[in-house]
Amino acid sequence: MPTFPLTYAEKKRVIQFAIVLAVLLWIAIDAATGGAQNWSRVWLRLPILLTGQASGWPLEGGFSLNILLGLCAMALAAVLGTFLGFGMLSKRKFIRVPSFLVMNFLRNSPWLVLLFAMLYIIPFRVNVFGVSIAIPAFVKAVIGLALPTSANFAEIIRGAVQSIHSGQWEAARSLGYMPMAIYWRVILPQALRRMIPGWMNLYALLMIATSLATVTGIQDVITTLNTLLAMENERVIVYFYITALFLFFAYCYPIAVLARRLEQSVKGDTL
């Protein structure tokens, strides 16, 4: 039960709640004064925005495709990023230096440009043992998004491993652990706790970046949105954009909050 006077954090929460209420009220007033028509247009098209289908099933595109794209790209980035991350931590110079170069190249290139480059560099179809396999745009989008993500993924691994106190290494070595065993049994279990919030933030960032996949021509939420908007008048466009923005916000904000909470809980343990 909150006691009066309210604490600063409580006061802030009350005000934020009030702002959300005010926005809802504003939407209600707008709906009452003619906006309802526009909202009903959005409501009618919402299944298409979410699933790419007017009936809402099966999932063929729209926001669900963005989620699928994000998951696939994250899985690929995890594999690539792990190799890259451990490459950067390697003691051997001929592994470490190229890994750093690749990581820096991928991290310094814009996501959109990399996506475009992958779109045009990866051939339309490839021949594997005489069988020609067409590469769909979706696969290209996954690769294009996974590359910059893997560089960030690798940086998170490197940062977390290097943030482990050097005493841990020395202690493990003096106890006679083999180098691989030091990683597996001492360093990684501790580093993993610090990596997870970073990975979650990265996933949220990737999810936001999946909106760029519209340039590859796949039927993601923005492509769908643009197709739908071609049939709508100028006024309704605003409502559609707000809906699309809200979709991303509703998906990414909880992840960001959770990541921050985890980060806070990990922050305390140094050593």
Binding site: P110, L114, I121, V238, C252
Partner: protein
């Protein structure tokens, strides 16, 4: 295997396009970064004042801009600012013209996006200040504003320089998305060139290298600044 043909690069028209595109990109990146830092400073100031309603608004602003795609923000600003009423009637043709060009729409949306990130960076910088510093300033009789200007911000801005570097490079990379709303920057001209020459892979590889070089130069420059301003005992500075 890929065979690359760069003979089109000899054409002065394409060279000119690439140059102009790069200049527009630089302009957009630096202008939006500058505005973003100013927004970040004001936001951080608003947060240190500890006024609950101001804090609530700033936090909402940050969360909305951080958790939605910048591409969608740009499209939103581009298509809705004129609908909301920011348009003028062209006296010659009598047609309604949007008041803001694509460039200014991109600038506004990028500045707000970067500003949200900057507020967050400055806030975490201010939070990492040792309490003793602010307490010492208070006991020396500094007013709230003087404390922010002379004690807290100079230290915090140096602590959060790495984060600021990240934001600036990110800002630079995000400018490529302005091509979607037809801002004539590097990415836009790249599209023009490969529409002309059909050399898509070659153009994209070249543009990728231009971006990587520029962003690498920027982060290298910022790392020099970081080193010069490094704060003993914090971060990498020793």
């Amino acid at each position: 295997m890929l065979t690359l043909d760069y003979s089109w690069l000899a054409d002065p028209v394409y060279q000119h396009w690439l140059l102009r595109g790069t200049l527009t990109t630089l302009e957009l990146a630096f202008a939006s970064s500058g505005i973003a830092i100013v927004i970040g400073l004001f936001g951080a100031l608003a947060l240190t004042l500890r006024i609950a309603w101001l804090d609530a608004f700033v936090e909402l602003f940050v969360e909305i801009f951080r958790n939605t795609p910048p591409l969608l923000q740009m499209l939103f600003f581009y298509f809705t600012l004129s609908t909301i009423g920011l348009s003028v009637t062209d006296p010659r043709t009598g047609l309604s013209m949007p008041l803001l060009s694509a460039f200014s729409c991109a600038l506004i949306s990028l500045s707000l996006f970067g500003g949200a990130l900057c507020i967050e960076a400055f806030r975490s910088g201010l939070e990492s200040l040792p309490r003793a510093v602010t307490e010492a300033a208070r006991s020396l009789g500094y007013t709230r504003w003087e404390r922010f200007r002379r004690i807290e911000m100079p230290i915090a801005s140096r602590i959060c320089l790495p984060a600021l570097t990240n934001i600036m490079t990110n800002q630079f990379k995000t400018t490529s998305q302005a091509s979607v709303i037809t801002v004539p920057e590097l990415m836009y001209y790249a599209g023009q060139i490969y529409n002309d020459t059909f050399r898509t892979a070659e153009v994209m590889i070249l543009v990728l290298f231009i971006y990587v070089t520029l962003v690498s130069l920027l982060s290298w420059g910022m790392s020099l600044v970081e080193r010069a301003l490094a704060f003993p005992g914090y971060g990498k500075g020793h």
